[in-house]
Structures are given as structure tokens and as C-alpha cells.
């Protein structure tokens, strides 16, 4: 059996090197190709783009690519990926929806390895996580790619690209973790002892996330993960071994919203499922890992208050009333540039419904100032942590409890 991943592509690259061809100024052939590209480009549909994306990936060098963990080998070099609920069935040389996994000769390989496109310091509250080391910072990492297609994705430049097409850092798990350990507070600088996977979907680069996460755990560095929760159970249970806190998105309520706005239904394969997200949330609860839920309220798409009520009821019943819930304000982004921001009234109403459903810690994010930025004691109503957006203005928490009535506030406080 010919191993296309190693020989086919390698030999293709070798051929180029062998003939000694160098880039030349554009010739007639090049011009005709560009003209053809223009014609095709004008009519380019996402399908063509995806196809071309595949062609590109297939011709890229697999040097430094890593084998994916959760997949199954089938006959004829086909494979079945079990990282996310799309359960991609990939033929030889085929690239998946998440743009980070390609079947090369019956092996599922990923180029998303040691190549984050974002490394920066952020407040932890930005994830959003309000009950996790408040006031501290984290080193945020992101690698290109995502298997979803949220119409409002703020990070579309990275999430909707293949990692190898981005401008990346060369950063091994050791670099990342030792980098966090070097963030010593000096002159009032904030503590930083967490690595956060955010800005794209870590499930798309789970192998790198896992390597960083395990290394972080071994050096006593915390790991926070902002994710869509579009996880398969096995991969998620594995992630729970190294993740300290999840900022878990429950992006809306119902199949229709997920299919229309998030792109959880693969149009070709009829796979992908909103219920998988609910299942994933239950798994995290079962595993006992700290989790806060985020719900971006997109006007007219998922702001029907009956749906919000149902969602809150489900959270209270299945995840408990102590799990913090963040309602995020939508701002016109990516493909929804012509949809106005979420009216404040909508956020207020959603927050009220959640509180009425018994959820104790309900926040509003992407809008500051707002009462929903703060943490209140569910028992006595005391404002325990005062925030402006993700900036802490004052923190009255005493040993993880309300300073007034002593009510314990759940979270990771140290």
C-alpha cells in the first residue's frame, strides 16, 4: 500500500526541488492560470473553496504533522474521526470540516501542532470565567481552525482558515508552560498562572491543547478552555483530565438555531447534532470540572424568551443552579454585519428569566457598565465582586464566601 502521506506528497515536493524550479516572474502560462482563477473565483462557492483548500493541504508538506488520537481506521485507507459529533468519514487525501485534520494514506494527521497564531495575556474574566481566579490573568493561546461556521464569529480570520495558512508562532508546549511560569507579578502586575485556550475552537487542535494541558498540569499551571462543547464524549472525558475550567458555550436553544447559525449540520453528510452539546455539558458536570456557561444572545435568532426559559430550566435541572451563566451581547460581526447589537432590554429580560429559573449567578458580558457584570450573593444580595466588563473594581470575597452572610460561592478561588 502506498502511503500517500509520506511518499506521495514527499515525492511531489521532491520533484519540485529536483527540477530546481524557482519562482519566476509571471509568464504567459501564469497569466492564463490567473485569468482562469479569476473566472473561477468570481463564481467561487464555499464548496469550491473547500475543494481548493483540500488541494492545497494535500500538496503541503506533512513534515511536523501529528497523528490525531480519536479516530478509527476503515478499509481502503478510509478513516472515521471521533473527535467531534461530525464523525467525519474521510477518504484518503481528504481534509475535514475543521481544516485541521487530513487523511493521508489512512492516517489522520493534523498540522495544528506547535503553531499558535495568537499568544497574548488576557484577564481570565474575558473567557468569560467569573468564578475562576478572579482578577488574575492568563496566557491565551489559539491555533487556526474550527469545525463550526458561526455566522457571527469574531475570530473568523483564524477560525475559518487552515493553521498552516496563518502567520504563526513556533511555540512548543514547553515554551508555552515555561512562559506562564515566567509571568511573575512585579509592581502590582497581575498574577498569571493559567493557560487559556480561546479565540478559536480548541477541539480543532485538541492534540496540541492536550500536550500543552498535560505539560501545564505537571508544572502546576491551570488550564482554561473556551469551547463550543461540540465534543464527542471520549475526547471530552480525556480533556477533563487536564482542563481546570471550561468556559462552555451553549450558543442557543434548539436544533434549528444550531443548524442555521452555528453550522452544526454538515450539509452533505447530514451529521452533527445540537443534543451532543447538551450531552457534553452533562459530561463535564459528571467529571466535576469547573464550568461556566456562555450564551451569546443574537437578536431574532436565539432571543425568544420562551426558548431562553426552556434553556435555563434545562441548565438548572441538569447542571445545577450553581453553574454561572453568562449572557453575551451580540455585536455585528463577520457575516452578520447588518444585524444590530442586542438591545439591552433583551439582556435584562434573559437575565431575569435565568434568575427566576433559580440559577444563582447570572452575568451579562460584552456590555459595561451593567449590573450583570457583578457577582451578587444569592442569599443576601450583597455585591461581592464589582466589575466593569472584565475588569475587577473590587473583590469582597472572603475565603470563597460572601463577606456579609458567609454564603459559600462556588468556583476556583485559589
Amino acid at each position: 500500500m502506498r502511503n500517500a502521506g509520506e511518499e506521495g506528497l514527499g515525492s511531489e515536493a521532491g520533484a519540485c526541488g529536483g527540477c530546481g524550479a524557482a519562482w519566476k516572474p509571471l509568464g504567459r502560462r501564469g497569466f492564463l492560470k490567473r485569468l482562469a482563477a479569476l473566472a473561477a473565483g468570481a463564481a467561487a462557492s464555499p464548496a469550491i473553496s473547500a475543494l481548493m483548500g483540500f488541494a492545497r493541504s494535500a500538496s503541503a508538506s506533512p513534515a511536523g504533522w501529528l497523528e490525531v488520537e480519536f479516530y478509527e481506521k476503515l478499509k481502503n485507507n478510509e478513516i472515521l474521526c471521533h473527535v467531534c459529533p461530525f464523525d467525519c468519514h474521510l477518504f484518503d487525501q481528504e481534509m475535514c470540516r475543521c481544516r485541521t485534520r487530513t487523511n493521508l494514506g489512512g492516517k489522520l494527521l493534523t498540522p495544528a501542532w506547535n503553531n499558535p497564531c495568537i499568544i497574548r495575556r488576557d484577564p481570565i474574566e474575558k473567557m468569560p470565567l467569573n468564578h475562576f481566579l478572579p482578577g488574575e490573568e492568563q496566557v491565551s493561546l489559539a491555533v487556526g481552525g474550527c469545525m463550526l461556521r458561526c455566522l457571527y464569529c469574531q475570530n473568523w480570520q483564524q477560525s475559518q482558515s487552515m493553521p498552516q495558512n496563518l502567520k504563526n508562532f513556533a511555540c512548543t508546549p514547553e515554551d508555552a508552560v515555561s512562559g506562564v511560569l515566567k509571568q511573575t507579578p512585579e509592581d502590582g502586575a497581575k498574577k498569571c498562572r493559567t493557560i487559556g485556550f480561546t479565540y478559536t475552537e480548541p477541539i480543532a487542535w485538541l492534540e496540541y491543547a492536550k500536550a500543552v494541558g498535560l505539560h501545564a498540569k505537571s508544572r502546576n499551571v491551570r488550564v482554561a478552555m473556551a469551547t463550543s462543547m461540540f465534543f464527542k464524549e471520549k475526547a471530552l472525558r480525556d480533556a477533563c483530565k487536564y482542563v481546570t475550567a471550561f468556559a462552555a458555550a451553549l450558543k442557543g436553544w434548539g436544533e434549528l438555531f444550531y443548524n442555521k447559525v452555528i453550522g452544526t449540520r454538515d450539509p452533505k453528510e447530514e451529521r452533527g447534532d445540537f443534543k451532543a452539546v447538551l450531552k457534553a455539558l452533562e459530561v463535564v458536570k459528571e467529571e466535576g470540572v469547573w464550568m461556566e456557561i456562555t450564551n451569546l444572545v443574537v437578536p431574532t435568532y436565539n432571543d425568544d424568551m420562551a426558548g431562553v426559559k426552556e434553556m435555563c430550566g434545562w441548565i438548572a435541572k441538569n447542571l445545577g443552579t450553581s453553574v454561572p451563566l453568562h449572557f453575551g451581547r451580540f455585536v455585528p460581526e463577520f457575516k452578520l454585519k447588518n444585524l444590530p447589537r442586542t438591545p439591552v432590554e433583551t439582556l435584562d429580560e434573559a437575565r431575569k428569566i435565568a434568575l427566576d429559573a433559580g440559577i444563582k449567578y447570572v452575568y451579562t458580558s460584552n456590555i459595561a457598565p451593567h449590573t450583570g457584570n457583578n457577582t451578587y450573593c444569592p442569599k443576601c444580595g450583597e455585591k461581592i465582586i464589582s466589575r466593569l466588563g472584565f475588569k475587577i473594581l473590587s473583590n469582597g470575597l472572603r475565603d470563597g464566601a460572601c463577606p456579609k452572610c458567609g454564603e459559600k460561592v462556588p468556583g476556583v478561588w485559589s
Partner: protein, 828 residues
């Protein structure tokens, strides 16, 4: 009544005495026939304008989409004319009536279809349509109207067939004159008083009445059609309201439409959702109220970048909260410039009384003007702070606010130590190649005028520029102190929003996380290889210094700008609009389009010879095959194509420059188009007169030469026009240049159509060739060549095609069938 019998005879054959066969109302008089042909031009122009405006609303659009739509329109018109010219017509008047009626009815259907099509095309509420969806809709909606109107041309020519071989030229003349008239009437009357359905029905009804008067036997048919359009005119109001509602139901499902209004800048729609009112202009979300944060954050970031901002100018954004927030600071005067008074009026009606009141405070002045023109006319050293809050440079008219020339004008209007600020969409975390290209270009354009530049990262990014080296800052603590100094009431503000939305803490929120210095470094070093600003595709980026526990030694703004090849954004070469197009292509998932645009922008100049070669090859083949008739036909078509291309490039170049010098051109577009059509009509008229006297073999080569001379002289003429002090003189000179742009095709078409065999079929082919040249010009010049190569280079793009046409004309004349006499036409 004139009647055309097939094309078998190779030319227009007229039955009856000079085509004037008595109808029920007696013989159709010459002026009536002329009026009918002119009415066809009138209807075509109005329908095109209403459909283009409607499509513009649908696309909420970029130049390439507008260019593509215009091209689709011309392509279908050409196809309609070409096909109709080949179908024998026994009754051209009836055909004219049918074509005009069909165009009118289809346009109404298309208007309604465009409004409800988002759902059908699978475009979600609030989503921007993709390029394929846009082109598809243009084809389905506007294509048939264009094709019917194209088919009206041979019918009008046949109606004038009493003029023999001169009929197509005359039809061209009358049609152009009708178009010129329509451009003016639409701009100054119809766009203000009528909704799109009313405009379409009125134009169709008028055209049909004229056609009916000319129709003789078809009088009843035409009369009935005119009556139908009269009826439709009566129901146009409810139809407009119903379809507009349906549009917004689809567009922003769940929103209720409060009001729509037409201004000379586009259609404004006011939508309500819960406690929020949103304003859309031409389908583009302009702003929503209440909006406590956008204006507050911008004002908060910018007002502390000047030592004492006494006199402030805000271009755009004033009505949606920026003015309110600026006035929270101690300022002496605030000038707010808004383009569209209608939009302001609609928003004012919905603002709380208190907020409305700020515009009547002493020192606050609202100006309804083009921002660029306002700055140009301002006295030197009038302002401490100029704040530009406009959409991205996605079109040529918006790009004018991001060019070096504009920044220089702002520089003149600023007092010593003055600050200029503008916003640009960006990303908080990662700048891909396209965004880096656009924002990097802008950074360096800004830097070329203001030597001290800082960028507040985020979306939108805020660009700050000054000539004062010591005051701009991105340090949150410094900015917070300055804010408290100027607004002491904010001391002790704990995020309760007691004194407005903004507080000193917001500086920490916006500038305290991430790495603002790194973003500034990226933009400053772009696109130097090996630097932080190297685009995607180079080697890996160096790890951020904080990761090794260190800090960068120098701030990026204190570092030297590394050497790299950079093209600044200028009026003559609006590169930022092409870069915005690339950002859009990546966002919409058209990587191939982005690659192709990038590839085209780096094509060697030699490839501009391609259109010339494409014309030359068939000419040589026809000559080699010994087909003089075909060669002559191809020669005429080549000349018309090349001149059509030149004409479109001239027109777009003049419009481009005019915008830069004079101001926002949308409102004057109809007027300029009328002037252009007047040039076309005049050329056509002169050609008819001139040609009537005697045949001139040197005519075509001379005309082609004039086009080449025009390409050399026009850049100077445009620059000279721009330097004229008074706007009235600028407008007059540009009107003259627009008029001259229309002349060449006007001069050539009647000559070309009258000087060969082939009759109406040939005339239709020439008409199609003219439009094909126009399509090539429209597609190449506006979205691609002007941004990539600049205005002067664009003006030379058609030269190879012109030279090829001249060569082909020479070759064709060498093998022309001898003995053909050119007869003078009957008097006009």
C-alpha cells in the same frame, strides 16, 4: 409605418414610401418617431437606475459587486440587442411596444423579487450576501429587463428605417438623448417624489405613450399598454409598502419597519426591535439608538489625546451619540458634518428631547455636507481635533476619506498640536494578510502626513495622528488621569454609569489586556520581511517578549520604520479600497477571488495588450480566409468595442477624480450621467451632420488617435480641474470632461453602423460591441485597475485595443469591396 423585412437583404429594407405608412391616425411624423426612440432611452435609463438602487440596497455593497451588476446589465442589454437584431420583425412598432412593456412589467416584478429574495437565496437575517448570490440575483432580476431594453434598440432603429442605413445611428442618438434627459429628471425629480415602482411605471407609461403615438397600426396595443401602466402607477404606492415590509421581514426577521424614505444618497429604512431603533441606508446598517457605548468609547479615547481640544470637528457619527459624548468634555465649539439630512431628520425625530437639544447648544453647529468638501473649504488652522467616524473604504467615495490628500487637507485645517483620528474595522487578536494590507497601508498613509501615529487596537481600531511628538499616549493610567482632569465628575465612578457610559476604567479594559504595542509594531513594520508585520506566508513570528518574562526595550512608535515597498492610499491610486475588497473576499469565503485579485494586481504591464490581441486574431483570420465582408464587419465592431472601452474608462476616471475634488458623487451621479449621455447624443448628432456632407475615410483613424491623445491629456486635465479654486468651476470643468467622455462613441457609432452592409443585424452587433467594451471597462477600471495601477496607468489600458482597432481598420480598408457609394442621410 416603417417595416423591416428580415436581414436576408443584408441591410434595412423599407416597405412603403420612406417607411411612413398611414395608420389609423394618419402618417407618423418624423418627430413622433424620434420621440418614440428617445422614450425608449428614457425608460431604459430610469429602469436601470431604479434597479441599480434596489440591488445596491440588497448588496449593501462593495464596488466589485456594483461593477459586476453593471456588467450584468450591459451584458444582457447587448445580448437582447444582438438577438433581436437577428429576428426578422414585420412590425417594429409593435415590437417596440412589447419590448418596453415587457421591460416595465419585469422591472416591477424584479423590484418585488429583489425585496423578497433573501429568503429564497438562503441568506439569513442580517447576513451579507455572497458574490455568487449577488451576481445570480442581478442576472435573474435585472437581466431580463436589460435584455428587453436591449431588444428595444433594433426595434427603434427599424422604426426609423425611413432613414435607411442611417437609422441605427439616429436611434442611437435619440436613445442617448432620452437617456440624458432621464438621468436629469430622475436625479432632480423622480428620486425625490416617487417610489421605485412609481418611477418604473411612470417611465414605462410615458415611453409607451410615445411608442403608441408612433405606432400607427399598433396604436391600440400601445395605448392599452400605456393605460395598464397608468393603472399600475395608481397601485404602485401600496405595492411599494407591501414589498418593503416583506423585504425587512426577510432581512431582519422579527424587526418591525417603522418608516422608509428616499434621499438622494439612497433608501433609508427605520426598523424597530424592542427598545432599539436601527437605521439602514441602502441596506447597510448605519447605526442604532439608543447607543450609549460606541460614541462614548471613541470620544473617550480621542478627546484625551489633545492637550486642550477646544474646537472639534466630527465627520460622521454625530447623530448616533458621538456629539453627545464629545460635549461631555469642556469644548468651545463642535462642528458636526453629516452627509444625509434625511437620515439626520429621521434619527432626530426619535432621539430623546435632551439629546436632540445638544445640537442647539451655543457653539454646536450641524452641517449637511460632504465631509471632504467641508474640510477643503475650512479655514486653515480651524480645529484642534478632527474625528472621522465613517464606514470602511469599501467604495471609491468612502476611500476619499482615507487618502494621503485628505489627511493633508485635514493637516491644514488643524491648529499646531492638532490631532486627527479615524476608525477602521480591524481585529483584536490577529491581523491576516488582507487586514494587514489594508490597515498597514492606512497606517503608513497616515504616517506620511502625521509623523506621530498610535493605534488603539480592537474592532474598530482607532488611528490617532499628530504632529506633536509628545502628547499621544496608549498608557491607560496616563489617559485615565487626563480624563479625570477634564471630567472631574467621574472621580469615584465605580462602573455605575452615573455620568455616561465611559469611565477611566475603560482605558484599562481596552488597552490593559493583549498587547497594543505589538499591534502598533505590526502595522509600523508591515510588510518588511522578518518583521512583526510580515504578512502570512513568511517564516514563523518571533515569540512575544512577555513570554520570556521580559519587556520590549523600545516602544514601536519610537523605532525607525523599516524599509519596505509600500504603496500609499491616494486619490489617484486608491489601494485601500482594493484591500477592503480582499478583506471582504476572505471573509465571505472566496479565497480564489482574493488570490485572483492579488494576482491581477501584480500582472506585468505587457498583459494589457491582451484585448488588442483578442481583437487582432479574428481580423487576421477573416483576412486570411478571404472574407472581406466579415473583415469589414469585424473592423467596425473592433473600433466600436475599443472606443466603448475607452469611453467607459474615461467616464469612470473622470467620476473618480471628481469625487476626490468635488465631494460625494452619489447625488450628482444622475446629473453627470445625463451630461455623459448628452455627450453621446451630441457626438451622434455631429457625426450624422458631418457624415451627411461627405464620407471621410480618415474619420475612424482620426477618432482612434483622439482617444489615445485623450488618455495622455486627461490626467493633466483632471489635475488642472481639481486645482481650480471654486467648486462651481470644478463642477463645470468636470461636467465638460464628462461630456467629452461621451463624445467618441457618439461620433463613431452612427458612422460605423451606416458605413457597412448588414442592416439591422450589423447595427445590433455594433450596439452589442459598444456595450461589451463598456463591460470590459466597468469591470476592469473601477474595482481593479484604478486601485492597483492608479489613474494614469488605467487611462492607458485601452491604448493597445485602440491601436489594434486602427490596424484592423487599415487591413479591412485594404480589402474593401470597391464601388460602394455612401449616400447622405435625410435631414435630422
Amino acid at each position: 409605418m416603417p417595416e423591416m423585412r428580415g436581414k436576408g437583404a443584408g441591410r434595412v429594407v423599407v416597405s412603403g414610401e420612406h417607411g411612413a405608412r398611414p395608420g389609423p391616425c394618419g402618417p407618423a411624423a418624423g418627430p413622433v418617431l424620434a420621440l418614440a426612440a428617445g422614450a425608449a432611452g428614457f425608460e431604459a435609463q430610469v429602469l436601470q437606475l431604479v434597479l441599480m438602487r434596489e440591488l445596491l440596497t440588497f448588496f449593501s455593497g462593495l464596488e466589485i459587486v456594483i461593477g459586476a451588476t453593471l456588467s450584468v446589465w450591459m451584458a444582457f442589454t447587448a445580448a437582447g440587442a444582438f438577438a433581436a437584431g437577428r429576428i426578422p420583425a414585420r412590425n417594429p412598432a409593435a415590437r417596440l411596444v412589447i419590448a418596453l412593456s415587457a421591460a416595465g412589467v419585469w422591472t416591477a416584478v424584479a423590484l418585488a423579487a429583489i425585496r423578497v429574495s433573501r429568503g429564497l437565496l438562503g441568506i439569513e437575517s442580517g447576513e451579507e450576501p455572497s458574490l455568487p448570490a449577488s451576481v445570480l440575483l442581478s442576472m435573474i432580476a435585472a437581466g431580463p429587463s436589460a435584455a428587453f431594453l436591449g431588444a428595444a434598440f433594433p426595434a427603434a432603429a427599424a422604426l426609423l428605417s425611413g432613414l435607411g442605413r442611417f437609422a441605427p445611428g439616429r436611434a442611437f442618438l435619440y436613445e442617448a438623448a432620452g437617456g440624458a434627459f432621464a438621468g436629469a429628471v430622475f436625479t432632480f425629480v423622480m428620486a425625490h417624489l416617487l417610489n421605485p415602482f412609481q418611477s418604473a411605471f411612470l417611465a414605462s407609461g410615458l415611453a409607451l405613450t410615445a411608442a403608441a403615438a408612433a405606432a400607427g397600426r399598433s396604436f391600440r396595443l400601445g395605448g392599452a399598454a400605456a393605460a395598464l401602466f397608468g393603472f399600475l402607477l395608481a397601485v404602485a404606492g401600496p405595492l411599494d409598502r407591501a414589498t418593503e415590509k416583506a423585504r425587512w421581514r426577510d432581512w431582519n426577521e422579527g424587526y418591525s419597519m417603522e418608516e422608509t424614505a428616499d434621499s438622494k444618497y439612497g433608501r433609508i429604512s427605520v426598523l424597530r426591535y424592542r427598545d432599539q431603533t436601527s437605521f439602514f441606508e441602502s441596506g447597510h446598517l448605519a447605526f442604532s439608538i439608543p447607543d450609549m457605548e460606541s460614541g462614548a468609547e471613541l470620544a473617550g479615547m480621542v478627546m484625551v489625546q489633545h492637550r486642550k481640544p477646544g474646537c472639534v470637528l466630527a465627520i460622521g457619527g454625530g447623530i448616533s451619540g458621538l456629539a453627545r459624548e464629545i460635549l461631555r468634555f469642556p469644548v468651545e465649539s463642535l462642528d458636526v458634518v453629516e452627509l444625509d439630512p434625511k437620515l439626520v431628520e429621521l434619527a432626530m425625530r426619535r432621539l430623546p428631547a435632551e439629546e436632540r437639544g445638544i445640537f442647539y447648544k451655543p457653539g454646536v453647529r450641524m452641517h449637511y455636507a460632504d465631509g471632504r468638501l467641508f474640510v477643503k473649504r475650512s479655514d486653515p488652522e480651524s480645529f484642534d481635533l478632527v474625528l472621522i467616524c465613517l464606514p470602511d473604504p469599501s467604495t471609491a467615495s468612502l476611500n476619499r476619506f482615507y487618502t494621503r490628500e485628505f489627511f493633508e487637507e485635514v493637516g491644514l485645517a488643524l491648529r499646531p498640536g492638532g490631532v486627527c483620528a479615524f476608525t477602521l474595522s480591524s481585529a483584536e487578536n490577529y491581523l491576516g494578510s488582507e487586514l494587514l494590507l489594508r490597515n498597514g497601508t492606512e497606517y503608513h498613509t497616515f504616517l506620511s502626513v502625521f509623523p506621530h501615529v498610535r493605534v488603539v487596537p480592537g474592532d474598530p481600531a482607532i488611528f490617532l495622528g499628530s504632529r506633536d511628538p509628545s502628547y499621544l499616549s496608549l498608557d491607560p493610567d496616563v489617559l485615565a488621569d487626563r480624563l479625570l482632569e477634564r471630567r472631574p465628575e467621574l472621580a469615584g465612578e465605580g462602573g455605575e454609569g452615573r455620568h455616561g457610559w465611559f469611565s477611566p476604567h475603560h482605558y484599562h479594559m481596552r488597552l490593559g489586556s493583549g498587547d497594543p504595542a505589538e499591534v502598533n509594531r505590526q502595522l509600523r513594520t508591515w510588510p518588511a520581511p522578518g518583521s512583526a508585520g510580515e504578512p502570512e506566508g513568511g517564516g514563523p513570528r518571533p515569540l512575544p517578549s512577555f513570554l520570556s518574562g521580559g519587556r520590549d526595550g523600545k516602544d514601536p512608535w519610537d523605532e525607525d520604520v523599516p524599509e519596505a515597498e509600500r504603496t500609499l492610499n491616494s486619490d489617484q491610486r486608491p489601494g485601500a479600497s482594493l484591500a477592503t475588497l480582499l478583506v471582504w473576499a476572505r471573509k465571505m469565503g472566496h479565497p480564489l477571488l482574493a488570490d485572483a485579485l492579488r494576482g491581477l494586481s501584480s500582472l506585468p504591464v505587457a498583459f494589457l495588450a491582451l484585448p488588442g490581441l483578442l481583437l487582432l486574431v479574428p481580423a487576421l483570420a477573416l483576412r486570411a480566409a478571404g472574407r472581406p465582408g466579415g473583415a469589414a464587419g469585424w473592423s467596425a465592431a473592433s473600433a466600436v468595442f475599443a472606443v466603448g472601452l475607452a469611453e467607459m474608462v474615461f467616464e469612470l476616471s473622470v467620476l473618480y477624480s471628481f469625487q476626490g475634488y468635488y465631494g460625494y458623487v452619489y447625488g450628482e451621479m444622475g446629473f453627470l450621467f445625463a451630461v455623459f449621455m448628452a455627450g453621446l447624443a451630441s457626438g451622434s448628432w455631429v457625426s450624422g451632420r458631418w457624415f451627411a456632407e461627405r464620407g471621410r475615410p480618415a474619420f475612424v483613424p482620426a477618432l482612434l488617435l483622439c482617444c489615445i491623445a485623450g488618455s495622455v491629456c486627461l490626467p493633466w486635465a483632471l489635475a488642472a480641474a481639481g486645482s481650480a479654486g471654486s467648486p462651481a468651476i470644478v463642477l463645470s470643468i468636470f461636467s465638460l470632461l464628462t461630456f467629452l467622455s461621451g463624445l467618441p462613441v457618439g461620433l463613431l457609432f452612427p458612422h460605423a453602423s451606416a458605413s457597412g452592409e448588414g442592416g439591422l443585424g450589423r447595427a445590433s452587433s455594433l450596439y452589442a460591441a459598444d456595450l461589451a467594451g463598456g463591460i470590459a471597462g466597468a469591470l476592469a477600471a473601477a474595482p481593479l485597475l484604478i486601485p492597483c495601477a492608479g489613474l494614469s496607468a488605467t487611462l492607458r489600458v485601452f491604448v493597445p485595443a485602440i491601436l489594434a482597432a486602427a490596424l484592423i481598420a487599415h487591413l479591412a480598408s485594404a480589402c474593401r469591396t470597391p464601388g460602394r457609394e455612401i449616400q447622405p442621410p435625410p435631414p435630422l
